[in-house]
């Protein structure tokens, strides 16, 4: 299956064998998507579920590009997985919704970097975070992000724009940290 086939989405819809070729093409990327958000072990468990859903639902594919469509399925599988597990999330207020940062947050080590990135990302809404991370982590275009999230392209663009603007402002104006030197007291 070549690029044109994949964009048309015909081969892997009509030919089950071509769909398996699609898996070898995008399976590692889908695994990475899951791994970034849920950790490697859960990604191992969920990968098959994503692809079996994709196989059975391939006739309904609307996205001309395969990868955003697959990320969309992976997102739904992750969401269902988290609901099943009812696992505690880093951001309690988002515990019943999909927020990719919630799990990634747990992977940041306890350094100044964590404080920085935590503070900056906390200024974004959940929706803005999700768009931003799809662009930064998955290297998607805003149009592809829109396909993953089922949004109009303009909405995805504006969320990305807001996220980047907020990031720039937060980075340019870090909170003032005060500390006292006990020797001066």
């Amino acid at each position: 299956m070549d690029d044109a086939d994949e964009r048309a989405g015909t081969s892997d819809r009509d030919d089950p064998a071509a769909f398996v070729a699609l898996f070898w093409r995008h399976g590692p990327a889908v695994h990475a998507y899951l791994s970034r958000r849920a950790g490697r072990q859960d990604a191992d468990d969920l990968l098959s579920e994503v692809w079996l859903r994709a196989f059975t639902g391939r006739a309904d594919r609307r996205s001309p590009e395969a990868l955003p469509w697959l990320y969309g399925i992976a997102r739904n599988v992750l969401s269902a997985h988290w609901r099943r597990q009812a696992r505690p999330r880093a951001h309690a207020e988002l515990s019943d919704e999909l927020d990719p940062w919630a799990d990634a947050d747990a992977r940041v080590d306890a350094t100044a970097q964590r404080a920085t990135i935590d503070r900056v990302l906390a200024t974004l809404s959940k929706d803005e975070r999700e768009v931003l991370l799809l662009v930064v982590w998955e290297q998607l275009t805003p149009a592809e992000v829109a396909a993953v999230l089922g949004l109009p392209q303009g909405t995805a663009r504006s969320r990305l724009h807001r996220a980047l603007t907020t990031l720039r402002e937060a980075t340019a104006h870090p909170p003032v940290l005060t500390c006292s030197d006990p020797m001066e007291a």
Binding site: A17, H31, L47, A104, Q113, I117, L167
Partner: protein
């Protein structure tokens, strides 16, 4: 470092374990085969049915994406970035029919004799920096996707897989393209020439890390125990024991007639993959032959000469076209072959060899990349 760079750093994750990808691919193949079978049934077409499966031929067992975007297939021994394009496709199968056959007494006798003769012969000990070397000759069916929607062209592509292995099963592998090879049919050659003769089949690599055989070396050596694990789908293609049955045990399909266990084709796939591990085969060869001897449908098909000119006796699983060529006097596995089955879509006669792995002798060498004298 700015926030975006920090985020990018956080987004770096380890690549997926090949065994995890394999499990999913196997499940998809099973679904694809089931769908093909169902479509045929609806159309009231007679068997045989296209299996359409990318099968393992020796150590080659997975497709992986490349920078060029083509789906490609690499050997299982830890190669993640070889610039070679191969989609290995073999054969068809006859759903149902072969499962009704009783185990062939002649095949079982041969396999048991090979198992008895294969009692582990100690390899010479390794000195500091030394490795065991084994060069395996592989004939792979390279299915090259052609540009412009022209389909594929099948080329039987020879290469040598050079393995350097330490006693713990770690080491390196290098692929060397061999001269020769041939188009499977004149039609394949004509299609390839008509589309600009894309070079997709040549495989040459630097030294690459070998996927450790540690898991295979740790498998149980009781044939009943290991046979049950394999039948239950609990052993994957790199010898890891899974905590729960793998995908083949979770759905009844034409490749897996019994939902309580893996089908014979899948069991033999696993055995074939384990047999390609140079160190592990020394320890497990006899056990694996005994397991194959218990598989229903496996038949004795007579003598065969391998690519190194050695003569052995062969058994075949007619359901998948998998062949093991053994030297029963020494219990040595000389070669594995994949045969085209009746009704195959490759355009070749039934029984045509469409893939093989010839196992070379093992020698001690003085370092990675060093060849025997």
């Amino acid at each position: 470092m700015d926030t975006i760079e920090l985020l990018e750093q956080l987004g770096r994750v380890e690549p997926a374990d090949p065994a995890v990808l394999d499990r999913t691919a196997d499940a998809l193949w099973a679904l694809a085969a089931a769908e093909s079978q169902e479509a045929r049934s609806r159309a009231s077409e007679p068997s045989p049915v296209l299996r359409g499966s990318a099968r393992r031929i020796g150590v080659v067992d997975r497709l992986a994406p490349t920078a060029g975007g083509r789906s490609r297939r690499y050997r299982r021994l830890g190669i993640g970035a070889v610039g070679a394009a191969v989609v290995l496709l073999t054969g068809v199968f006859l759903p149902g029919g072969w499962l009704d056959r009783s185990p062939s007494a002649a095949a079982a006798t041969l396999l048991q004799a090979a198992a008895a003769a294969a009692s582990p012969t100690p390899l010479p000990p390794l000195g500091a920096g030394q490795y065991y070397y084994q060069g395996n000759i592989e004939q792979q069916l390279c299915t090259s996707p052609l540009p412009g929607g022209a389909g594929v062209a099948n080329f039987l592509n020879p290469n040598t897989h050079e393995n350097w292995v330490a006693t713990d099963g770690t080491g390196s592998v290098r692929l060397v393209a061999d001269p020769g090879g041939h188009w499977l049919t004149p039609r394949d050659q004509a299609k390839w020439q008509a589309t600009g003769s894309p070079n997709e089949c040549s495989i040459t690599s630097p030294l690459l890390a070998l996927t450790s055989e540690a898991a295979i070396l740790a498998l149980p050596t009781d044939p009943t125990v290991l046979g049950s694990l394999i039948a239950d789908g609990r052993v994957n293609d790199v010898g890891q024991i899974l905590p729960s049955p793998g995908p083949c045990a979770q759905a009844a399909t034409p490749l897996n007639q019994n939902s309580a266990s893996c089908g014979i084709n899948r069991q033999l796939d696993v055995v074939n993959n384990l047999l390609t591990a140079p160190m592990a085969v020394r320890r497990l060869g006899a056990v694996l032959f005994q397991i194959v001897a218990q598989l229903p449908g496996v038949e004795l098909i007579g003598t065969r000469t391998d690519a190194l000119g050695r003569t052995g006796t062969a058994v075949e699983n007619p359901g998948s076209g998998d062949v093991l060529v053994l030297d029963p006097s020494t219990g040595t596995l000389l070669e594995t072959q994949s045969l085209a089955l009746a009704g195959n879509t490759l355009g070749v006669p039934t029984g045509t060899v469409v893939g093989s792995v010839t196992f070379g002798p093992i020698a001690v060498v003085n370092g990675l990349g060093t060849l025997p004298n």
